[in-house]
Chain length 172, copies 2
DNA sequence: TTGCAGTGTGCGGATTTCGCAGGACGCGGG
DNA sequence: CCCGCGTCCTGCGAAATCCGCACACTGCAA
């Protein structure tokens, strides 16, 4: 009855597996499968997940807790701020000279900034910001971001309409 | 004991409230408060949410279900694909001539595309894509996206490192 | 007024979550 | 070899949560 489990688990070394340069512990196939289940429905019961991945309810619960503690994943409600209400949203591309990582950290520290990623391309950093209104948006971009040491210039893309937003890279 | 509830609810018309141009029903303060709770923890029990927003457990449950059904919010596990494993990720800025909406829809239809937003700025559309590897990424950008009718040109920003990712626009 | 749709409440019963006591396994030291 | 240790899994009750349902209240329109 357990035969359709995702991983055999009996002949593999779970944790000794390769580990990327960063300090993040690599995940095995079972944890990936658990994440996929929760990408479909963040409130799915542990027992249902266990049946899908071939594990007991308690085991799934322990793994999910660990993934949460490690910061590998988070279970949250996501919305389109523009749809939910008033508020201005924009993506800001930043050109940096010098300490890119420092600028990214400074951006991350701002509460209006929801998303920060370092990129290879004409921008060094992309940051998504959510504001109350145009004044607030202007203040964040011109007063705060452009004032950061190392920021050479920025380019803004004010959001007009969100067309798609999913989190199911696993299930394809 | 109920006195610290978020909205008085007794003297306001809940649904007759203003409605944005789009077909999305506007949310009242209580639903906003519920969403905020779930932005902190997508698995928070209905009873706990009810206590926080001043509603019964059953009422919270009905509202959450409706928000889910309406597509106003989704409760899901989110991760950083780069951290979770192999895979290439990038943001693509698209210059469009003509039917911007059509291009955005076409992008949304692609499974590799996780996020699509129409913007005001030098790009007409921004799209975030998640791929297996470089070959896959190249194929999606050069073969599929650039081939879409109306796409004049694109610019790619390959992700090097995700620095921040939150969903708590409500709680500030 | 009457009927109806939408929303909230209270209440059991089914389900799920939670904590904890083992048991199995791999690994390294004595 | 075998013993201790850490990790992960399983199997339980007990407690908490989820769920469906009947009913009350409100605003609105026929």
């Amino acid at each position: 009855m357990h035969s359709e489990g995702v991983a055999s688990r009996s002949t593999e070394h779970r944790d000794s597996a390769r580990e990327s340069r960063s300090g993040t512990p690599q995940l095995d196939a079972v944890s990936l499968a658990i994440i996929e289940q929760l990408q479909e429905d963040g409130r799915r019961p542990y027992a249902a997940i266990g049946k899908a991945v071939g594990l007991s309810e308690a085991a799934v619960r322990q793994r999910v807790q660990k993934l949460l503690d490690q910061g590998v994943m988070q279970i949250v409600a996501v919305t389109d701020p523009l749809t939910v209400g008033f508020r201005r949203q924009a993506m800001v591309g930043v050109h940096v000279e010098g300490d890119v990582d420092g600028v990214a950290d400074a951006l991350s520290a701002m509460s209006e900034v929801e998303y920060v990623v370092m990129t290879a391309g004409s921008f060094d950093v992309l940051a998504e910001i959510v504001c109350e209104d145009d004044d607030h948006l202007l203040d964040v971009i011109n007063r705060r971001i452009r004032a950061l040491p190392g920021v050479r210039s920025t380019e803004s893309f004010v959001y007009l309409k969100l067309k798609k937003q999913t989190y199911m890279w696993g299930t394809r």
